[in-house]
Symmetry: C2
Subunit: 213 residues, 2 copies
């Protein structure tokens, strides 16, 4: 999957105004897919929500698959981009704990609906669109690397010793987050998400205590 955000579906370059219209369509599609799922979202729903004409939406996106790919790229930029910025600042267990608390608060504010916009999209496309699945897989890989940099900062600052496997820690942290968000979405409660993220912090604390010994 490779979506050129600066071209129409036939490869023509976009004007500034064209880019703005395209962004409005992708944002509307992302919101609808979060609210009612990928399958529950039609091109007509997106067209109406974005306030564009039929010819406009098809000018940018040949079909719904193209729109799904653009939404995945949008969520990659938005969500993974935000976590990249956050983890660039995480270099202590306290900072990790604040990140976990922020995630829980954010879910609570949203009534635990929607789950992770990327993970949820991934589950919905995984068995039906190999390119979309690969796009979400790449975004998850980027997310893992962002988290790993946080753990590497902690190791560099002596929070952990060299036995700490920062790559495995990053993967298990992202899995704990994804599983916690999935359970929050289904159970409409942050209880399991809190337990899952607490275990991440507790695990880091135990590793840190072990490093001090």
């Amino acid at each position: 999957m490779s979506v050129d955000t600066h071209r129409t579906n036939t490869g023509r370059p976009l004007t500034a105004r064209g880019r703005e219209t395209r962004t409005r369509i992708v944002t509307a599609a992302a919101e609808l897919m979060l609210d009612t799922g990928v399958a529950g979202t039609t091109m007509e729903d997106v067209r109406a929500r974005a306030g564009v004409s039929s010819s406009q939406i098809y000018h940018y996106f040949a079909d719904k698959d193209a729109l799904v790919h653009a939404v995945i790229e949008h969520q990659d930029e938005t969500i993974v981009g935000a976590h990249e910025s956050m983890f660039a600042e995480i270099d202590s267990i306290d900072a990790l704990r604040r990140w976990c608390a922020w995630i829980v608060d954010y879910q609570r504010l949203g009534g635990c609906s929607g789950g992770c916009p990327l993970g949820s999209l991934g589950v919905q496309v995984a068995e039906v669109d190999v390119d979309a699945r690969a796009g979400v897989a790449r975004a998850l890989g980027r997310w893992e690397r962002a988290i790993r940099r946080g753990y590497e900062s902690m190791r560099a600052r002596g929070v952990f010793d060299d036995r700490a496997d920062t790559s495995a820690l990053a993967m298990s942290t992202l899995a704990a987050l994804q599983g916690g968000l999935l359970m929050a979405q289904i159970q409409r409660s942050t209880t399991a998400l809190e337990a899952s993220l607490d275990a991440v912090v507790r695990h880091a604390e135990l590793l840190a205590a072990q490093s001090v010994v």
Copy 2:
């Protein structure tokens, strides 16, 4: 959601043969929903896969929603039922480690496709069918309790001391499993699932070591 597996859609009791036909339809639907998603599965697909007539399928299920609810109940019985049996035997960290290895092997054998049949169904229905979502939430609750009994056995055998919160441990274990399965499905690799389940075992080991001190 309450599905009576011994009645037709109009509430008439089923004969032994009727129950067999109903089971065949639900199994076919469960397989198709795992392969192509809930939205990608039509009543006609299920009818053809189960080898029944149109009037037969509608005799048991008024519509696709009814079929989705029956599939959730089927996965609850099958998957959560299996994990209840497994966790009744898990009373040591070695046994927990064997369960994790079994999960990873099972995913690898299936090429990491499908994810968790329950978690994946939950994500697909969460925003569009409140009864189906509640059904998956109940199944996840039952799954949590099964895992908790394993941790309680470990605590009773002195693996952990009384500081171990078996309820939180069970929730974080199920979240680690769900997140690991989601990442396996999307990345078509067991690497993150292994890291996620290793963290569960490692966390239990660190708690056990702390209990010995």
